[in-house]
Amino acid sequence: MSETAPRLRARKLDMKTGRVDLSHGSGGRASSQLVADLFRDAFANEFLDQGNDQATFPVPTGGRMVMTTDGHVVTPLFFPGGDIGSLAVHGTVNDVVVGGAKPLHLSASFIIEEGFPLADLKRIADSMGRAAREAGVTIVTGDTKVVERGKADGVFISTAAIGVCWEGVEVSGDRARPGDKVILSGSIGDHGVAIMSSRENLEFETAILSDSAALHGLVEAMIGAGAPHLKLMRDPTRGGLAATLNEVAHQSKVGIRIEEDAVPVKPEVQAACEFLGLDPLNVANEGKLVAVVAAEGAEAILAAMRAHPLGREAAIIGEVIEDDQYFVQMTTSFGGGRIVDWLSGEQLPRIC
């Protein structure tokens, strides 16, 4: 419930005759409107209003904790570089981690379609267990529901996680200030392209694997190198780097300018995006993070990231600027300027 895209000025949700359509699941403005106009009003509370991918709250006995939840409906269930099980752990763990907290425990709820092979379910469960152990978290509670054939598609998994805030780390989406540097931990678009390459109606051959990974180790390295300089972190999943940067700009009420040449994109991802007519900036990632850091701490944090296996290609891709319209701008490799915007509509349903 983190979407922070600006609410549309003109058309309200049609609560009488309107229906949910695929664009409401895209992570763009339509999803944002659904959350803002329907859920946020119904749930109204200060934690939701933080507008982050996770809620941070004080614990009565002292300290602060983070909680988050994520539903996983990816198709196909098994894809190059991962499966719905590992994804359900990584996605939720990462939302805790980029909230500045050490993840502790996970819950997992399964909605399973009648007829689903037990062998596949076991493969998924084993993969979840492995991913959890690697991320240093335990799956401590769960639930299973079975629905009739045709009422779901194989299996859907919802996970929730809690974590304890690291001391001395204060990150939130509204903390970016002009002059801060924007760091990206590695190449973009790998997860989205890996999923697309294995979709039934698209199937193309590529060596690209999903980047699905837990980012706790990388973030610990960053905290060690410069906790006071860390302003905010985000994992650019659905909607890609473009959506994440726009969320940050709007939440912090600033502009962001990035350099196209500084953003790492693998040649295979570039090639796939080329023939699919996509912009890698809009394509999903599952093992990358964007950090906004104070300029004076940028080099030290970058060096620490590059020393970690998940941050080898980390780069400073741009900086925060003043802009009362909160635009994310990019200097193209041609030297021209353009906006980097949220993608309109649905690029590809069920990417995560």
């Binding site: 763009g28 109606n201 193209t332 300027g337 509509g345």
Partner: protein, 385 residues
């Protein structure tokens, strides 16, 4: 990436930009129209506007098939999809295009119609084959580039003896639209625009060749440079147009020589001739009715014509009266000049045709270029005071 990076070399682009700046006469204004949405997209996506001198102006033309499709046709497609026996297949960018009364294919799908997105006309034939109990209708749109694949699908369906496959045909013709723009001062149907040259279509010209543009030189004294879709192609084509103008030439030239010949793809043309016939007239969104500007299935292929099979009734629907798409599509106004732009009309809630496809002039400006508007307004304000 090989064969792509070569056409996106920033250094070369800046070198061409320098040459354009050197050769463009500062005492003159150069107004060129890029006809195709593909070029509009490249110009916006790579920020080419920032590389051109101020007196070289690009006008975004109507070459975006989704943009010029009239609302009534979307309504007709939705009506088709509502029939319980019909599975409607469409390219993804049509899904969100608004029909009248706030409808769209994506909403019709959410309400229960069987509407599916496909990537190729071969998929359309396959789906018909796999679902013999469904009436599979392919919502065909596009300029001459996408016409041959549709023709091929019809022939393939005939060969396979498919009785459950048909085409809702909306294919349109590029030269007819260019002619409508050039004849505007004479016909008065569209506002006249001063255009000194065209960046001619890339993929369309691969199919039809560069010859069909010759009449525009002979009858209207126009200049056309057929250009590839890569940003360096566009830069080089602009330079070629500047040179034609400076040297007092008016010709059809081809920059996209790696793919375009004067005759085009004769085999594809024959295929299309075999399957399609000219419509007497067709409604273009923003441009109005244009004679002999669109295609229908020939009588001998009539059984694959969804309009005949389902006796599709014409639905007349008009644009929002405040929408400036008509004048924007032919370059008489810019997107930011429209009162609806960015207020009620955005890519999520498009009111007008130019906002619906990423290749439309308004969508491209919204997605890539609108950060320039504030400075532009401030400059205009300073000049006015």
């Amino acid at each position: 990436m090989k064969y792509v990076d070569e056409y996106r070399d920033g250094k070369l682009a800046r070198a061409i930009a320098d040459t354009i700046a050197r050769e463009a006469d500062p005492g003159k204004t150069y107004r060129f129209m890029e006809f195709c949405g593909g070029h509009t997209h490249a110009i916006s996506r790579y920020g080419l506007e920032d590389l051109l001198p101020k007196n070289v102006r690009m006008i975004h033309g109507p070459g975006c098939p989704v943009c010029v499709l009239p609302i009534g046709r979307i309504d007709e497609a939705i009506e088709l999809a509502k029939r319980p026996e019909v599975t409607l297949l469409t390219y993804a960018d049509l899904m969100r295009v608004p029909g009248s009364k706030g409808t769209s294919l994506i909403k019709a799908k959410a309400a229960g119609s069987d509407i599916r997105m496909i990537y190729s006309t071969l998929d359309a034939v396959r789906i018909a084959e796999e679902n013999p109990d469904r009436q599979v209708v392919f919502f065909a749109i596009g300029f001459e580039t996408t016409t041959p694949p549709t023709a091929m699908a019809v022939k393939l369906a005939a060969k396979k003896g498919l009785e459950n496959f048909s085409i809702f045909c909306n294919h349109v013709l590029t030269p007819s639209a260019i002619r409508a723009i050039l004849e505007a001062p004479k016909t008065g149907k569209l506002p006249p625009v001063a255009i000194q040259g065209f960046i001619g279509p890339a993929h369309v010209s691969v199919v039809i060749g560069s010859k069909p543009y010759l009449p525009f030189v002979e009858e209207f004294g126009q200049r056309i440079v057929v250009s590839g879709f890569e940003p360096l192609d566009v830069m080089q084509s602009i330079l070629m147009l500047v040179r034609q103008l400076n040297e007092g030439r008016a010709e059809v030239e081809t920059q996209y020589i790696r793919a375009v010949t004067p005759e085009g793809n004769v085999q594809a043309q024959r295929l299309c001739d075999e399957v399609f016939d000219l419509r007497d007239t067709f409604e273009w969104r923003g441009l109005g009715s244009i004679e002999r500007s669109a295609l229908k299935l020939r009588d001998e292929w009539a059984k694959f014509d969804a309009e005949k099979r389902f006796a599709v009734k014409r639905i007349e629907a008009s644009d929002n009266p405040a929408c400036e798409c008509g004048t924007i599509l032919i370059g008489a106004k810019q997107p930011a000049d429209c009162k609806l732009f960015g207020t009620v009309c955005t890519p999520e809630t498009p009111m007008g045709s130019c906002m619906v496809s990423s290749e439309g002039a308004c969508a491209a400006h919204w997605t890539y270029g609108r950060f320039r508007d504030k400075a532009r307004r401030e400059e205009a304000g300073r000049k006015a005071s």
